[in-house]
């Protein structure tokens, strides 16, 4: 199943914020976590993650720090801020409202539709 491009774009911010809420991370590990969480169904173009991370930084949702990775390379780590957590909570409310509405209107609710796919 291919998930629609717009849907992926819309879910990218809450997904990244939620992953960072689990603990600080870096680009490659975030992408891996996304694949893991969606059983490989959410496929991002890797390069697009970085501009998104920069936008989150500009809005003050994440802080960044260059450190040396265990492999000895320079690596940029991202950590969520309080403003980021607040934004995530707001996103969660919005997504809950959307999924609730879809669950009400789709026959049999939301989960069977996922099961059929």
């Amino acid at each position: 199943m291919r998930i629609d491009k717009d849907l992926i774009a819309a879910s990218a911010t809450p997904m990244v914020l939620a992953i960072l809420a689990e603990g600080e991370s870096y680009g490659y590990a975030i992408l891996k976590r996304v694949r893991e969480l969606s059983d490989g169904q959410v496929e991002w173009t890797d390069g697009m993650l970085y501009p998104l991370l920069h936008r989150l930084g500009r809005h003050g949702y994440v802080t960044t720090e260059w450190r040396t990775s265990p492999e000895g390379r320079r690596r940029k780590y991202y950590a969520i801020t309080d403003a980021g957590r607040a934004a995530l909570a707001e996103q969660q409310r919005q997504w809950a409202a959307v999924t609730r509405a879809l669950g009400d209107v789709w026959p049999g609710g939301l989960l069977p539709a996922i099961g059929e796919a």
């Binding site: 680009g27 390069g47 500009r58 990775s69 390379r73």
Partner: protein, 446 residues
């Protein structure tokens, strides 16, 4: 592994030149790439295969470059591209249009001058309308460059038509003070009206407004440079021709007004097309002058706080203070537009906070003196205009000082401060429009 190293080096050299992407981004992407290749090798692929798959997953460079550029529009500005889906105007072309619009402005100024039989006579309508003879050509040039559609042209032209109507149907009294105020504020209104054309219909966009601030700063630098060069040329021409017995009266009558009008469009074209030349100078200029102005403002604030303000503020000094506050605001705005928004606070931000706070203190004192004056002597058009301008400045400076302090104290990022300034731009335009449209009738066109 050798082969992959050289492939990565080649990729790096290519991506680092892509618009919107800087060296740190490439470091980050390279770390990503190496991580991915290592993992694929661990799964049994060769280094070459790993490189190919990692590249494929990273996605095409153009799309990524567009995303980076959208996020960092400041970088984009430096690299002479317009983001978004519309095709960008070609970089160094368009000089024919620039010359055409500049010539049109130059000729219009002369036609008007002859119609007014200046400089023998100086009718007040000439002064009052001065900006209307030049700035429409700038807006036209920008609208043409942005390839606006009919609706875009109408939206851009509407403020000019409205203002032209208002300015010319009002029955100003002889020696009218409001007429002089209109002449002073009209260029500001029309400059912002030109901004509508510059932003090409996306006036609500924070990024486009920031671009307009950059444009204004760069335009000012170019215009001053052209004015200096032109001044030297005219002075030398006069000095060389006069001893030969030739009359040089034609220079101030023909060359000066036309040159000044044409240069408005030419400077805009230079900003649009020769961005690289100035981009290194602009941050240097703000870096040089912001500390100097901060020092001067802090000194002035201390002096006036110590000596008291009562008697010192007469009418001329008030005008000087208003100009000073506007310059500080210009420096701060322009410095911010040239700044990398993702960098953490540094000493320049602290100096800017000093400048803004000192300006704020001075503004409060000016306002106090002004209100006392109005209490004693009542409102005049001049006092009303000055009071309004100072209130507009006060709110802006207070907001800027508060947000800068929060940014330096790391309680906030730069973004809210930038937003504050770009959201405030219409307030300046509105106030200038109020002075042009409402002040004259309020004071009976006196």
């Amino acid at each position: 592994m050798e082969g992959v190293e050289s492939q990565i080096a080649e990729w790096r050299a290519y991506v680092v030149d892509v618009p919107g992407v800087n060296g740190h981004d490439v470091d980050e992407l390279e770390d990503h790439l190496r991580h991915q290749i290592a993992e694929l090798r661990a799964a049994g692929l060769t280094a070459d295969e790993g490189f190919l798959i990692a590249m494929k997953r990273l996605g095409d460079v153009d799309g990524m470059s567009r995303e980076f550029a959208r996020e960092h529009s400041g970088r984009l500005w430096k690299q002479l591209l317009v983001s978004g889906d519309e095709a960008s105007a070609p970089a160094a072309t368009g000089w024919r249009e620039a010359v055409a619009f500049a010539l049109a402005a130059a000729v219009t100024v002369q036609v008007v001058r002859l119609a007014a039989s200046a400089p023998d006579e100086e009718p007040t309508w000439l002064l009052r309308n001065a900006a209307l003879f030049v700035l429409p050509f700038l807006a036209g040039f920008l609208a043409h460059r942005r390839r606006l559609d009919t609706r875009g042209w109408l939206v851009a032209a509407a403020p000019f038509a409205l203002v032209a109507l208002v300015v010319n149907v009002y029955p100003y009294a002889a020696d009218s003070g409001t007429e002089l105020l209109v002449a002073l504020h009209l260029p500001v209104v029309l400059w912002f009206a030109g901004g509508v054309a510059y932003m090409g219909g996306s006036v609500r966009s924070h990024e486009r407004r920031m671009d307009f601030v950059r444009f204004t700063g760069e335009w000012f630098i170019y215009y001053v440079l052209i004015a200096l060069g032109g001044g030297v040329l005219m002075a030398l021409t006069g000095l060389i021709l006069e001893p030969a017995g030739l009359s040089v009266d034609w220079i101030p009558m023909w060359v000066l007004p036309s040159g000044a009008a044409g240069a408005v469009v030419v400077a805009a074209w230079l900003v649009e097309s020769k961005q690289r030349v100035v981009e290194n100078m602009a941050p240097v200029l703000t870096m040089l002058f912001t500390p100097l102005f901060a020092l001067m403002l802090a000194g002035a604030a201390v002096v006036y706080a110590a000596t008291g303000v009562g008697a010192a503020f007469d009418r001329d000094l008030l005008a000087v203070f208003d100009v000073l506050l506007l310059i500080v605001l210009g420096l701060v705005l322009y410095g911010m537009s040239a700044r990398d928004p993702s960098a953490s606070p540094d000493w320049m931000d602290r100096i800017q906070l000093v400048a803004v706070s000192a300006a704020l203190v001075l503004d409060v004192m000016v306002l106090g003196a002004m209100i006392a004056r109005i209490g004693d002597l009542g409102f005049t058009p001049n006092r009303a205009a000055a009071l309004g301008l100072n209130l507009v400045l006060l709110v802006n400076l207070a907001g800027a000082a508060w947000l800068t302090a929060r940014f330096i104290g790391r309680r906030s990022v730069l973004h809210p401060l930038e937003r504050w300034q770009t959201s405030y731009l219409p307030v300046f335009a509105l106030w200038a429009a109020v002075v042009v449209v409402f002040l004259p009738p309020l004071f009976g066109f006196e």
